[in-house]
Symmetry: C2
Subunit: 350 residues, 2 copies
Amino acid sequence: MKPIDLVKSPGEWLQAGGPDSGVVISSRARLARNLAYYPFAPRLSMAERAEVHRKLRDIILSEGLATPEMYIELTDAGELERRLLVERHLISREHSDSDGRRGVAVGDGEVVSIMVNEEDHLRIQVMKSGMQLAKAWEIASGVDDVIEAHVEYAYDPDLGYLTACPTNVGTGLRVSVMVHLPALVLTGQVAKVFQAVTRINLAVRGLYGEGTDATGHFYQISNQSTLGKSEQQLIDTVESAIPQVVRFEQAARDSLVRKDRTRLEDRIWRAYGMLKHARMVSSEETLTLLSAVRMGLQLGLLPGPKLEIINQLILTTQPAHLQALQGRELSVPERDRIRGEHLRSIMNPN
Amino acid sequence: MKPIDLVKSPGEWLQAGGPDSGVVISSRARLARNLAYYPFAPRLSMAERAEVHRKLRDIILSEGLATPEMYIELTDAGELERRLLVERHLISREHSDSDGRRGVAVGDGEVVSIMVNEEDHLRIQVMKSGMQLAKAWEIASGVDDVIEAHVEYAYDPDLGYLTACPTNVGTGLRVSVMVHLPALVLTGQVAKVFQAVTRINLAVRGLYGEGTDATGHFYQISNQSTLGKSEQQLIDTVESAIPQVVRFEQAARDSLVRKDRTRLEDRIWRAYGMLKHARMVSSEETLTLLSAVRMGLQLGLLPGPKLEIINQLILTTQPAHLQALQGRELSVPERDRIRGEHLRSIMNPN
């Protein structure tokens, strides 16, 4: 499989099969690690950078963490391929756009991805569908052990794992969940919920991480810092907070159904009608429409499609995906048109 | 057939079968007549009013211009029934809401309707689908002859037929066509066309006559006054102007298709999707959506329904029609919901 072929099938984390998948789209665990005796990535010389890259890539491949085809050297990758990886949450925007030797290994089903020479020498990311933080952490930890058998990590007995950015020092672990909170937004309660979440030291971000907005009511909730707490404590904090967010969202959905069912149905069916019929749809409108349909499916107000189809459309209607599917560059108006075609083909399967 | 049963079938003028029916929905001829030796209707005593009413009703029924069931005494008719007649363009709002003995006779297929004791003692109206002014006038004139065989009309050798309002003196004839001009509105040319039409002494009004707006881009174009011209001259003026308006509208539609087909298709398909799926639709939005779909059908951009179905929906989605179909009074939110149901049932026939 080539990286560009990723567009043809969804990652495991979009299968909508995990626990609480009506609200929690996916869970992610990410470990930041650095090799001892080397400067952090931003301060590596070109030669050192290449050396770190080669060393880690060789370990990843020899341990079978990814096939050689799915170890992608970003220095050689085209712009479209890199954007595709960003849209699939396999690499960060920074990793896509930076310079010098760097890469990413993508494992089966895109559950595991390993970035080399991002902000840290090594970032191990695991994504699972639904509320599966503990499972994601377990897999990440396993990959970490496999790699650690070959290298010495930068580690301080008092501080823990050392990282390029102080916020990652300690466990180097960031856990996050992507949640879909349309009813909390519609009922004007989302700010209140986020305040509560922030008070227990969790951060809330938009769909593509820091600095992105929450179009379509999709949010990422993650721990803020990793110092002074064990991995289990970090996971416990998030794992105990999310079920409450899920309950709030479910209660808000129930209240919308109870208090103004027709207006809610109207909103949902109009979104459904637009996805089935519109000829030009922007990225932003697409997320808004998919958000409404996703909620409608969860509430049993729509006949279909399956939830995982909607999850996949969130991914495949993005610009790089549309261009990869078409096999060529598209202008913005062309993208809006092709996005409409793509949505219609999926939403009108006959 | 009872008046309330009118809701079950459309009038002939909605069949979308006449010439130029893509742009011209219907043609209407209306004759104003008054009996000699009586004051005009607004100045009749109650006794005279009843006498005029009885006299004209008896002629209409004895001549078989309407069945007894379809001669509706508006004094006795319920509010809903009267509103229904207004929505079907069979009586004016003023005729519905005024006092005293008055009525309307509705002929087969709603082609002929005869108002008694409206502003004039007698108003003979004929509606035909598409561009059929001459035919409408011919039918109206025939009805006029039948009635005139029984009564003496108020007539002045110099002025012609005398009427309550000076604008109708002369032939007493008003001819009008209902046109659908969405492309002229979309391309910003409609004001220019109306200026040209006004210059040859024609008037432009909204869907329900004077003082109503042109929601959904439906307009009525009619002659302004009837004095000093023969019937044929009046008809010729409108009959020669309308084909030009039709050509302008067709040219505007062609230009929209040529210059920005995708955007036009998007607008049309979105309207189609809303009509098929929305759960609450206001009167005004309905007309806007039906207007777009009507244009789409004319341009061959939509698979269906038939044009006459859309014409009928313009009628049957109005408040009194919805209430007559439901057999009960409906609040505004209920109407919006029932209107959505009605639209979906027609737009999703399977």
